[in-house]
């Protein structure tokens, strides 16, 4: 199962609820303003590092770059994908749930 989150985890509770209510082994893709959650050195880093222990985390690179960050700013273990990679993730998983 793929979960998508598009809201900044500093502003909204979407990522928090997504991580709480998703299962071990699932995939979580951060895009749009949610990409801030994938960055090293923020107060949320520990939350994402913890999630990586049981879930696969992805982040949309074009959204990272638009906002002035680069792939190397992303927490190690979080995989970067482009839009084609986003499509692949949706195709690979049986269901996708958007945490609007």
């Amino acid at each position: 199962m793929l979960h998508t989150v598009n809201k900044s985890p500093f502003e909204k509770n979407s990522l928090e609820s997504c991580l709480r209510l998703s299962k071990e082994g699932c995939a979580v893709l951060l895009f749009e303003d949610a990409v801030y959650g994938a960055l090293k050195g923020t107060q949320l880093e520990a939350t994402v590092v913890e999630a990586l222990k049981s879930k696969k985390m992805y982040v949309l690179l074009p959204d990272i770059e638009a906002r002035g960050m680069r792939a190397e700013d992303v927490i190690s273990g979080v995989q970067t994908v482009d839009y084609a990679g986003f499509v692949d993730l949706v195709a690979e998983k049986a269901t996708v749930q958007a945490w609007l």
Binding site: M1, S14, S17, L21, S22, K23, C26, Q97, A98
Partner: protein
């Protein structure tokens, strides 16, 4: 209207937003009502502020209160459409000091693991 080759899929409606502040709750309900005619396997979950959609005693009309129609009674009509699987998130209820007796309709309360299981069993998830 099951003329879709007899396919029955598990449809989940995920409601995470409060009523009135935004239209998502109302327009989600409109999809559920139309969708009922398609005879799919439908469940509704209410998470985070979405649980407030079911709060008893909502009171507003076009000419009073906030000037917006109260649509909360429609949740009680869902049974008549054979939409009977309504679930609320336990933690969301607790954070808001709500119990099932505060709600308009009968719901099943799910803990984190049960909610995650329910979601993982679906074919199509509509998020509002």
């Amino acid at each position: 209207m099951d003329g879709e080759g007899g396919v029955i899929k598990k449809f989940l409606y995920v409601n995470r937003k409060a009523p009135y502040g935004t239209i998502y709750a109302l327009e989600s309900l409109e999809v559920v009502l139309i969708g009922a005619a398609f005879e799919q396997d439908v469940s509704l979950v209410f998470i985070d502020d979405g649980v407030y959609q079911l709060k008893k005693g909502q009171q507003t009309t076009v000419d009073s209160g906030i000037g917006v129609k109260d649509f909360s009674k429609t949740y009680r009509a869902l049974e008549g459409y054979d939409v009977e699987k309504l679930y609320v998130d336990k933690k969301s209820m607790e954070m808001r000091g709500l119990s099932t007796s505060d709600l308009n309709v009968d719901v099943e309360v799910l803990d984190d693991a049960q909610m995650a299981d329910l979601m993982a069993q679906q074919d199509i998830i509509l998020s509002f």
